[in-house]
């Protein structure tokens, strides 16, 4: 009953979370240093010089820009025809200035907080009154004990300055610049994101959390995150995204690279709830060495268009990868999400569990790739894909790609599509629940395998978001 009890005492929980919170962010926001709209070498140079970056990083960016220009747009999955790269700003730096007050928070955002039932203290935090995060991630402090254990947890700009060798040794080594057009775009314009290094044998007990928000109009968000879990270490990184609504479309193109060394365990949890005008085009991938374990826990509720395929490359013997994802596509939303598991060594195992919900004309597509490469003897992979359709016009598509080069490997693929049954609704409604509450309960049940993997506060928030999504009042 632990979960329910904690929900009841949410105030206390949030206080506790606050107390645990390592980051004492200060709120200062001033968009004085913003680039012009659109893409160009001048913008890259301006960005790099504002950040006072070393030459090698400027070179990296400029090469990536060339690659970006040379690559075609993806023509599959979602319709990116309306995406105009020239309409966005590619860099904004939130510099220290005045503190935002509660009065300055737009009413629309206050209203969303009201609907979410977020307590006052938490609202200020989320609205950036107590904490302001923008295209740059500002960590003012790192817990002393982490330093004591040699854990590095800084924003990427700091990492470029203070740990150039580590950054150079890892950036684009998991997601090559050429991997796709958006990876190239990110490489050219990345800003913000986290750099995490966990030394051998170190167990990071408290999850590392980062909050990313799009706060400015047409602000492209290009976080770049690198996580290195060295041999035998254990780390859980949580990224939460919420974005207030703005009228102009926003572009979120993140690249996440994770290196799981021998015997290490890394988990990356994210729930994205971008506003509906956001293009969410993310590349996230992990390379897993011998006996390592990578877990992606990936929730998608927001954005208008999302393309996202968390991947594990199982490079070492007995490496494991688990990808658990949910997507809730409501009216006007189109997800083309999925997962990739590439097996390159013997006795590697992967499991992919995807749950999607489509409502109204929402479309949720699942693209799952399993590749058992040569030498991946006795590899095993299990793909489970469940879709729940809420309306006759909702749509769900499954595109499994399976490519096996070793005979003694085993790949299982299972897919189900279901609807909420009249009898289930009647049963729950006969117990006093409104149709909406009954549907939300059934959906929460459908998502339970995902939700139970989330930290408490995320589980609570997700349930509320699902409810709001049901009421059609999100975004």
């Amino acid at each position: 009953m632990g979960k329910e009890e904690t929900v009841s005492d949410l105030h206390q929980d949030l206080r506790d979370i606050k107390e645990q919170d390592q980051y004492n962010f200060r709120t200062e926001i001033d968009y004085a240093h913003s680039s012009r709209r659109g893409i160009g070498e001048d913008v890259v140079r301006e960005l790099s010089s504002l950040k006072d970056e070393p030459e090698w990083m400027l070179d990296f960016r400029l090469k990536a820009l060339d690659i970006f220009f040379s690559m075609p747009m993806p023509t599959w999955g979602v319709d990116l025809g309306t995406l105009d790269f020239e309409q966005f700003y590619y860099f904004m730096r939130a510099t220290r200035g005045k503190t935002r007050t509660w009065d300055e928070v737009p009413d629309a955002i206050k209203d969303t907080f009201e609907k979410l039932g977020i307590p006052e203290a938490e609202r200020k935090y989320l609205a950036g009154v107590e904490t302001q995060m923008d295209s740059e991630t500002v960590y003012s402090s790192l817990k002393v004990e982490w330093e004591r254990h040699g854990i590095i947890f800084v924003d990427m700009d700091t990492a470029v300055r203070e740990y150039p060798d580590l950054v150079q040794a890892h950036i684009s080594k998991c997601v090559p610049v050429r991997d796709n057009k958006f990876a190239a775009l990110n490489s050219a314009f990345w800003s913000g994101g986290s750099f995490v290094y966990v030394p051998p044998g170190v167990d990071v007990e408290i999850p590392l959390q980062a909050y990313f928000r799009i706060n400015a109009q047409s602000l492209g968000q290009f976080e770049r995150t690198i996580i290195i879990a060295d041999e035998g270490s254990n780390v859980h990184y949580i990224e939460g995204c919420t974005a207030p609504q703005y009228t102009e479309a926003a572009l979120h193109t993140g690249v996440i690279e994770i290196f799981v060394k021998k015997g290490a365990h890394a988990r990356y949890t994210t729930i994205q709830n971008w506003s509906r005008n956001v293009y969410n085009l993310v590349t996230q991938r992990a390379i897993v060495d011998e006996d390592g374990l990578m877990e992606w826990v990936d929730g998608n509720l927001g954005s208008g268009i999302t393309m996202k395929y968390p991947a594990v490359i199982l490079r070492g013997a007995r490496a494991r990868g688990e990808i658990l994802s949910i997507a809730f596509a409501a009216e006007g939303q189109h997800y083309d999400a999925g997962a990739k598991a590439i097996h390159l060594a013997p006795d590697t195992r992967s499991s992919i569990t995807s749950k999607s919900i489509s409502k109204g004309n929402g479309r949720s597509g699942f693209r799952g790739l399993v590749r058992i490469g040569r030498g991946a003897e006795r590899a095993q992979s299990k793909v489970l894909c469940d879709a729940l359709l809420l309306d006759p016009e909702s749509r769900s598509d499954t595109y499994p790609y399976i490519d096996v080069s070793e005979d003694d490997s085993r790949v299982e693929h299972e897919a189900t599509v279901s609807r909420i049954s009249e009898d289930q609704l009647f049963y729950l409604m006969s117990r006093g629940l409104s149709e909406q509450q009954a549907s939300a309960l059934i959906i929460n049940g459908f998502l339970e395998p995902f939700v139970k993997e989330l930290p408490m506060e995320y589980a609570v928030e997700l349930n509320r978001l699902v409810q709001l999504q049901m009421e059609g009042s999100v975004g």
Partner: protein, 265 residues
Amino acid sequence: MALEIRDLHVAVDGKEILKGVSLVVERGATHALMGPNGSGKSTLSYALMGHPKYQITRGDVLLDGTSLLEMTPDLRARQGLFLAMQYPVAVSGVTLYSFLHAATSAVRGYGDQKKSAAPGRRNAHMMPMREFRKEVDEKLDLIKMDSAFLRRYLNEGFSGGEKKRAEILQMALLQPRYAVLDETDSGLDIDALRIVSEGINTLQESLQVGLLVITHYQRILNYIHPDVVHIFVDGRVVKTGDAALVDLLEERGYDWVRQELAAGG
């Protein structure tokens, strides 16, 4: 104060199943409705609760004077009507506990504006957890189950007996004024039948529930003693009497009723 069914006609997919049912169940009274398979007993229970598949073509159902016909099932539940179903539906991923909490909160009006004493509280629409927890633990004793039961997913993988106990647990928490028990004895072994029946009796006594016990066999009526017995054949009540009718039925079977009907024209 009664549940009044007046000349109720119900059709499913255009086919008339109930052909004018009338009966009145007072608060605190126990009525048994006995009939052979296929006579329309379950149709009556679904129609009373408002299942969308059952169209009411004529007649009315009043709960303490208020017509239920325009109400969706949730509103009927909040009005004080409960249906213990013959085939409770499973909902995967939803624990019995969270379901009971949501249902109890809804029926007791925690979702209503006027009861939200603390609008800023995130769970103002829910009954306070500790209060609920305490009550649900008490009610578990009634059906002789322990709290591990609450952590299971609603009706998923429940045995026949567990399903019926869960139904009675719901009834205990929702505290209805009138309850329809649809073949509650089916799928129960003798011990479970006794526990479930005793639970129902306790509830009836404490809440003064008006009970309509729908059953094929007299078995459950050995535990829940009816004040009034109705015999139900081919979509209508054909005979009404006291508990002695049960013995007569047991002795002679439903054929006797049919023959008598035929003879009486």
